[in-house]
Amino acid sequence: MTGETRQPGWLQGLAMLLAVAATVVLMMAPAPQGDPQLLAVLALIGALALGALDLRLRSPWVLALMGALIALGASGMLADLRAPVAPSFWAMFLAVWLGAWMLEERLANLALRSEIGRRIMALIVPLIFGLTLLWLWEAGVRGGNVPPVILPAPTDIAARMAGSGTTLWRDFHATFVMGALTGYAMGCGAAVLVALAVDRYDFLRRGLLPVGNFAAALPIVGTAPIMVMWFGFGWQSKAAVVVAMVFFPMLVNTVQGLLASEAIQRDLMRTYSASHRQSLLKLRLPAAMPFIFNGLKICSTLALIGAIVAEFFGSPTHGMGFRISSGVGRLQLDMVWATIVIAAISGSSFYGILAALEKRVTFWHPSQRGR
């Protein structure tokens, strides 16, 4: 097993060496313009040397320095980048990508003893991966001269986000706060209430669970045109679509959650001669919380999807779905991407808030302990 003794990332390192060599050779050939700067090339050569040094040292500090040099080379390439680029640019483009990959392999396979070190690594590695993707996007689009109506560069998107803050905020307010959140609160609230009613009658429970499971798999977002017809173009129709989308998943999860307490626990409540209300409040609702939060988390994504797609069917002249569909029509793709970034951020922070809340409420559950 010779592969076990080799340093992780040696293949990427070797390929990077070839790419850097190709860069240097191509830079020797006379090109009218567009060669990457000498400083950037030197930084990459330095990173390669450190990579070779690391084969012996295996130290996180060498890797940190190597990462810094690769970053220096990468940003040096972006500075003063004009569209028709020489072949050496693409050789170096490859070199940076391979270098980042080698760094990831090495970092991921570092034998860290401390818990804190492992935690930091679990943050840094995905971060480097994301930054590498962003850099590849930026350099590829700008170096390849991709027209902005096909794919705008990340910096263009960031500039657009900074430039049209008020528009984006109005869209966010209309779609997320008015449409998604209102519908989410109404739909989930109604589902929990119905679940509490259903829970009292075994007949209803046996009837509604399969129907709810079936309905949860249906493309309910297709009700959007109907809702727009009934409730008009305003936020009410978006909230209605969201209510229809979140109701069944939430109902199914809550009903299942209310069954989650064990028979022996319910028997104990009976020996205390607890009323239905008491056993619900003190035993079964707390026991249902992991299921309820699971439903709330699933529905948080559905709510945003519902509100955005409903706007594709008709909306006033603001809203995230409207911005996306009209931006696509006018080939303003930077605006579309900016809206998508906002949607992604609001979606994951909504989910994150729910997950944090879940951690506080269901601290007793095995899945939350022992972390």
Binding site: P8, G9, E104, E105, L107, A108, N109, A122, V125, P126, I128, F129, I150, L151, F203, L204, R205, R206, G207, L208, L209, P210, V211, F214, A217, L218, P219, V221, G222, A224, P225, I226, V228, M229, W230, S300, T301, L304, I305, I308, V309, F312, F313, G314, I324, S325, V328, G329, L331, L333, V336, W337, T339, I340, A343, A344, G347, S348, F350, Y351
Partner: protein
């Protein structure tokens, strides 16, 4: 399941009853307006009859939706001038045709997304760097409304000359990709340390451990994510038909119905989509039961 039949039928009957009951007040405004304009009184019986048989009701009655579905499928194919009986091909006016357009894009996309998702999951399980770098993003992507990029993908691909089935399939693939990745990573990791140790004592190589232990034990997880993925893929294909004003497909039926106020057509397309979704989930479920039974993993 047998004990559930009566309760389920009761619940469905109650839902249909509520639907009928809702039709009358929702549609009565239009009938009353018409009567007011004509200067006649309407009795309650007439009101009920009128509300249940409008051409463009605000809420069509269940039997109207059923009749529309029947007419735009079997009747259209049987008697229509462009139907299956007269031309030998599916009529472009029938729901069968529209459902097939959407379904084919869904299936192609679902196949691509599932395949790539399994490949990435295999990579994540076997490579620590991929695990650390890709997995957090795959999980985070579950929390964002990916469908928002659908219109952009369609229009951009249109601009570079790719039209028809492929753009929709790409959206479907994208939507079914992440559930499969997350589910399969969990599944491929589900063998416990003792089983992995046993494979080591057999001197099994990595491919052998994969083929004989990891892959078989990931099957329940695979099917669970396939069910999520196929539902997501269908939604992707339907939404993918919206931005270009597509002429064929269930999404196009929804869109044209909402442009021209053809509510019955919208509801029929909606139910067709529901039937397609339920059918696909049922097929995946049947394959799941068959596979797991053959593998000796009774649920």
């Amino acid at each position: 399941m047998r004990g559930a039949l009566v309760p389920v039928l009761t619940v469905v009957a109650v839902i249909i009853a509520i639907w009928y009951a809702a039709v009358i007040p929702v549609n009565s405004q239009w009938v009353l307006d018409q009567a007011g304009r004509a200067g006649v009184e309407v009795s309650t019986a007439e009101l009920v009859r009128e509300t249940l048989s409008q051409d463009r009701p605000r809420l069509p009655a269940p039997h109207q939706v059923g009749a529309e579905m029947w007419n735009s499928t079997f009747v259209e194919e049987w008697r229509g001038p462009q139907g299956l009986m007269n031309t030998g091909t599916l009529s472009p006016r029938s729901l069968f045709w529209h459902a097939w357009v959407t379904l084919s894009a869904t299936l192609v996309g679902f196949g691509i997304g599932t395949g790539l998702g399994i490949l990435l999951a295999v990579g994540i399980v076997h490579n620590r760097a991929m695990d650390l770098s890709v997995m957090p993003w795959a999980i985070a992507s579950q929390t964002i409304p990916i469908i928002a990029i659908a219109p952009m993908i369609i229009v951009v691909l249109n601009a570079v000359g790719v039209t028809g089935l492929i753009p929709k399939a790409i959206i479907s693939a994208y939507l079914s990709f992440f559930p499969v990745v997350v589910g399969m990573v969990t599944g491929l990791r589900s063998p416990d340390a003792m089983q992995l140790d046993l494979m080591k004592t057999y001197n099994a190589s990595r491919p052998e451990v994969f083929a004989k232990l990891r892959w078989p034990s990931s099957m329940p997880y695979l099917f669970a994510s396939l069910k999520v993925g196929i539902a997501a893929a269908l939604i992707g294909a339907i939404v993918g038909e919206l931005p270009t004003g597509a002429v064929a497909g269930l999404g196009a039926r929804l869109l044209s119905g909402s442009y021209y106020g053809q509510t019955i057509q919208i509801w029929a397309a909606l139910f067709a989509a529901a039937i397609v979704a339920a059918g696909m989930v049922a097929i995946v479920g049947a394959i799941q039961r068959y596979t797991l039974r053959r593998m000796g993993m009774q649920q």
